[in-house]
């Protein structure tokens, strides 16, 4: 599995070489694409070639700092004098032709003096990137709104600014055989658990794939159980969420060209945490967290419960409700399970269409779907109006998840549960839930149990996941992840009480 480090320098060392020959060779590689700019100059009788791909390098830099001194200074240029005299850092000398090609396409400008032993390369990367933006998929009411961008440099910049400490390590790794991509493992070296860091590094290093499309894909490659429908790493586009987790001793990963970072190890509950809980006062924070837990449970259970009750155990419905459900069911020609699946499918269609369409059209979509189709479906006798309420509620509940991945998982889980409820009634639901719980117990994230701190039970970590306590009490990091430093600040100092009127 280990990546083969190619050491083919010997085989394709073509230097020294004629400049014309070099140009011919390069042009051959860039056949059919007119991107390569290859300029030749004559200086002190020596031929000098400067070549790069213009749109990948910063033209002004080449102009000002490379060409100007190169042509104006009155010294005979050799590789060594170029390295010494040209006012650009980030320089190196390269002898391998393959390497030249690889560097060329990531924005390097080369200077070659004819018949020299090696070529001088300057990394003058001009990477187009969007400016920093507000987070789109994870929005917050309180707290920083800034989001990661596709530029790794920018992301590292943000992270570094948020954690201004020499403790912060950003290890560089490269993954992808044919299309390599830079990956950074971000952690606090005095806090994060060594085993977690090693596991993460090991898994990424051991990857033997041609390319990593995005951080989400990398995530799937290195997950513990790739068959599970539950996400095993907490991915986020919010730097504050990312850095908070890192500062608590987790290991973060950033991928070049991906606006989402991810964090491990995570537990099921960490997907239901929002940094906003932290910014709220503890009472409100606990309440919101509680609401989210209820919402997830509700979202999974409500439609299957309806199906089970209407198909088999109508005894559990109170008489008054039974009358209204019965009356609205009477007009529907389908069996409850089909009716529920149809409506759930409709909601999923609306959601998917809303996500794909441009924002402006998306809003219209919501109105069309919600009002027109919903109303028409009831009028046409396709579904009962009670079920519409249930399905809408459960869709709404699933959107309360701070993590989009978990929200999607929850919506997917609903479908098998509906089928179980439709075939076995209440027993089916309990069976489905049991299966789900057992699956969650078996699941791990970076080798750590997925349900921690519930199981393995860690009483002291309850306030990290299920509720929040006043800030002066929460002076410890989560014990479940075995950080090197458990204590964040001295609890004694924080909760010291002064006497009245002191």
């Amino acid at each position: 599995m280990r990546k083969n480090r190619r050491s083919n320098k010997k085989t394709d060392n073509i230097f020294p070489i004629n400049i014309d020959e070099l140009e011919a060779r390069l042009q051959k590689e860039f056949k059919n694409s007119p991107d390569l700019s290859f300029s030749k100059y004559e200086h002190h009788g020596k031929k000098i070639a400067v070549f790069s791909i213009p749109y990948l390098v910063e033209a002004s830099m080449i102009e000002e700092n490379l060409l100007k001194p190169l042509l104006n200074k009155d010294i005979p240029w050799t590789t060594q004098t170029i390295l010494d005299e040209i006012p650009l850092n980030d320089s190196e000398t390269i002898t391998s032709f393959q390497e030249i090609l690889q560097k060329l396409i990531i924005g390097t400008a080369f200077v070659y003096v004819e018949q020299a032993e090696e070529v001088v390369a300057y990394l003058l990367l001009n990477k187009e990137k969007r400016s920093l933006d507000k987070a789109e998929t994870e929005s917050l009411v309180l707290g920083p709104k800034i989001a990661f961008t596709e530029s790794l440099i920018t992301n590292l910049n943000i992270v570094r600014w948020r954690i201004r400490s020499t403790d912060l390590v950003m290890e560089e790794l490269k993954v992808g055989n044919s299309l390599p991509r830079e990956i950074r493992i971000v952690y606090m070296k005095s806090i994060a658990n060594e085993a977690d860091i090693n596991t993460m590094r090991q898994r990424i290093q051991d990857l033997d794939v041609d390319e990593i499309e995005d951080s989400a894909v990398l995530q799937q490659y290195i997950e513990d159980d790739s068959l599970s429908i539950f996400p095993q790493f907490d991915s986020t586009e919010l730097p504050d969420r990312f850095t908070y987790a890192v500062s608590q001793g987790k290991v973060g990963v950033l991928v070049e060209n991906s606006p989402t970072g991810f964090i491990g190890p995570s537990s099921l509950f960490s997907f239901l945490e929002s940094t906003e809980d932290l910014y709220m006062r503890w009472g409100a924070g606990s309440f919101l967290r509680f609401i989210r837990f209820i919402a997830m449970f509700f979202s999974i259970i409500i439609t299957p419960a309806y199906v089970a009750a209407v198909t088999y155990q109508f005894g559990i419905i109170p008489t008054q409700l039974l009358i209204s459900i019965g009356q609205s069911r009477a007009a529907v020609p389908f069996s409850p399970i089909f009716e529920a699946l149809l409506l759930e499918f409709l909601i999923e269609l609306l959601r998917e269409a809303g996500a794909r369409l441009p924002t402006k059209v998306g809003q219209t979509m919501g109105i069309v779907g919600g009002i027109v189709i919903g109303q028409a479906a009831v009028d046409a006798g396709l579904t009962s109006n009670i079920l519409i309420i249930f399905v809408a509620m459960s869709a709404l509940a699933s959107f309360t998840s701070p993590s989009y991945l978990l929200g999607t998982t929850i919506r997917v889980v609903r479908f098998p549960l509906i089928i179980l409820a439709g075939t076995l009634g209440l027993i089916g639901i309990v069976f489905g839930l049991s299966l789900l719980i057992i699956h969650l117990i078996r699941l791990t994230s970076l080798g750590r149990p997925y349900l921690t701190p519930l199981y393995p039970f860690q009483w002291r970590d309850m306030d990290k996941v299920f509720f929040r306590l006043p800030i002066n009490i929460t002076n410890k990091r989560a014990k479940s992840y075995q950080p090197k430093k458990l204590i964040r600040f001295s609890g004694k100092e924080a909760s010291k009480k002064r006497d009245i009127d002191e």
């Binding site: 209407v310 088999y312 109508f314 005894g315 008489t319 069996s335 179980l420 075939t423």
Partner: protein, 380 residues
């Protein structure tokens, strides 16, 4: 490994699809209220009010009836006459005709116990007329359907688990416990509208007599602690003569002074005093709030309150004695003295039903009423 499990699950679910018969509610007739009448020649007739959900009809409820040898047989019979499968899973009220109840209702109870799909929370009641007649009452004045109406009558006239909310479980408990006799609410039709008219006193499972509904308070008080209930008492006017406001009171005085109280707290406790002679003592404790009086008695000092309390004690005591005498005449121990007797029984001997039946008419009970008027409203 994982794939195997998934395949296994898929196979399982395919297997499951056709194995349990579904019971979609729109295909069912959900019995809400049942009525049982015994006919001649060993047949019984079950009248039930059902909910049925059909898109074409606006009527939600319907009355169906069927005849048969057993309850289930009769329901089956009724089922064959309608286009729904009748199910009693949501039954809320079961009514027995008075004539049926006189012969005993035990034989109709068995199915309620045996069939686990029936709820225990259904109320039982007796109808003064036949159950069929009661359920067939069709009056403009009842906005609800009859079953819901009767159910509502019971629900609204009681708090907690007290009479007239006698559900199947309560009835069964009182019936099977030795030294207890059950009592049920009794419905009557007055001016075409069903009313909750009386307490039907049962001896075992047989109806033996009725006591007016306003005495339900006395029965509830014997059973459990009560609070926030209204009690009306008629007291003799005479002892209050001197406290009655003289000047304004020109009209002729009534013989009885009618008073109403809100019971803040009421409790009772029964002790067996003399096992040989079957003497019991029942302490009744009432904390009252005077809310109405038909004469202007000025409550200026403690003496008036004391007098009032004394009269209340006397009135309550007399009423209890009358009730007990009535119950003893019917030989139906609705006040559950047998239960107290059984609790004090010596070791090694179990009280039997028949023994108590013979003893009950012989018992004497000393009622000690301790009523306190805690407040007398906003007026003196």
């Amino acid at each position: 490994m994982k794939y195997k499990q998934i395949i296994c699950l898929v196979m399982l679910s395919i297997l499951l699809v056709s194995c349990i018969p579904t019971r979609d509610i729109e295909k069912l007739g959900v019995i809400n209220t049942g009525g049982v009448d015994k006919l001649d020649n060993d047949l019984i007739e079950v009248t039930s009010e059902i909910f049925h959900f059909a898109s074409q009809s606006n009527d939600l409820t319907r009355i169906v009836s069927g005849k048969g040898k057993t309850i289930k047989d009769s329901v089956e019979n009724a089922s064959s006459k309608s286009n729904f499968t009748l199910t009693a899973e949501k039954i809320q009220l079961e009514i027995y005709g008075k004539e049926t109840a006189k012969k005993g209702i035990l034989r109709y109870i068995d199915t309620l116990d045996r069939d686990a799909s029936l709820p225990d929370s259904m109320y039982l009641a007796i109808s003064d007329t036949s159950a069929k007649e009661l359920l067939s009452t069709d009056s403009e004045d009842i906005s609800l359907d009859i079953g819901q109406f009767l159910h509502g009558l019971i629900e609204e006239n009681s708090t907690d688990h007290l009479f007239p909310r006698i559900n199947f479980q309560d009835f069964q408990s009182s019936f099977y416990d030795i030294g207890k006799d059950p009592y049920l609410p009794l419905f009557e039709i007055e001016d075409g509208i069903p009313i909750l008219a009386a307490i039907a006193i049962m001896q075992d499972d047989r109806y033996v007599g009725r006591i007016p509904i306003k005495d339900k308070l006395y029965f509830n008080l014997m059973k459990e602690n009560i609070k926030d209930m209204t009690m009306e008492l008629g007291l003799p006017t005479k002892p209050f003569e001197k406290y009655i406001e003289k000047e304004e009171n020109i009209s002729k005085r009534e013989e009885t002074l009618h008073t109403s109280y809100n019971i803040l707290k009421g409790s009772s406790k029964t002790k067996l005093i003399d096992q040989e002679n079957l003497v019991f003592e029942t302490d009744i404790k009432l904390r009252l709030n005077l809310i109405e009086m038909t004469e202007e008695v000025l409550i200026k000092n403690e003496a008036v309150i004391k007098l009032l309390e004394k009269e209340v004690n006397k009135a309550v005591k007399t009423h209890y004695e009358e009730l007990l005498a009535q119950l003893q005449e019917w030989n139906a121990d609705a006040f559950e003295y047998g239960s107290v007797y059984r609790s004090h029984k010596d070791k090694g001997h179990q009280l039997t039903r028949n023994e108590w039946r013979e003893m009950f008419p012989e018992i004497t009970v000393n009622f000690n009423v301790d009523a306190k008027v805690v407040s007398h409203g906003a007026a003196d």
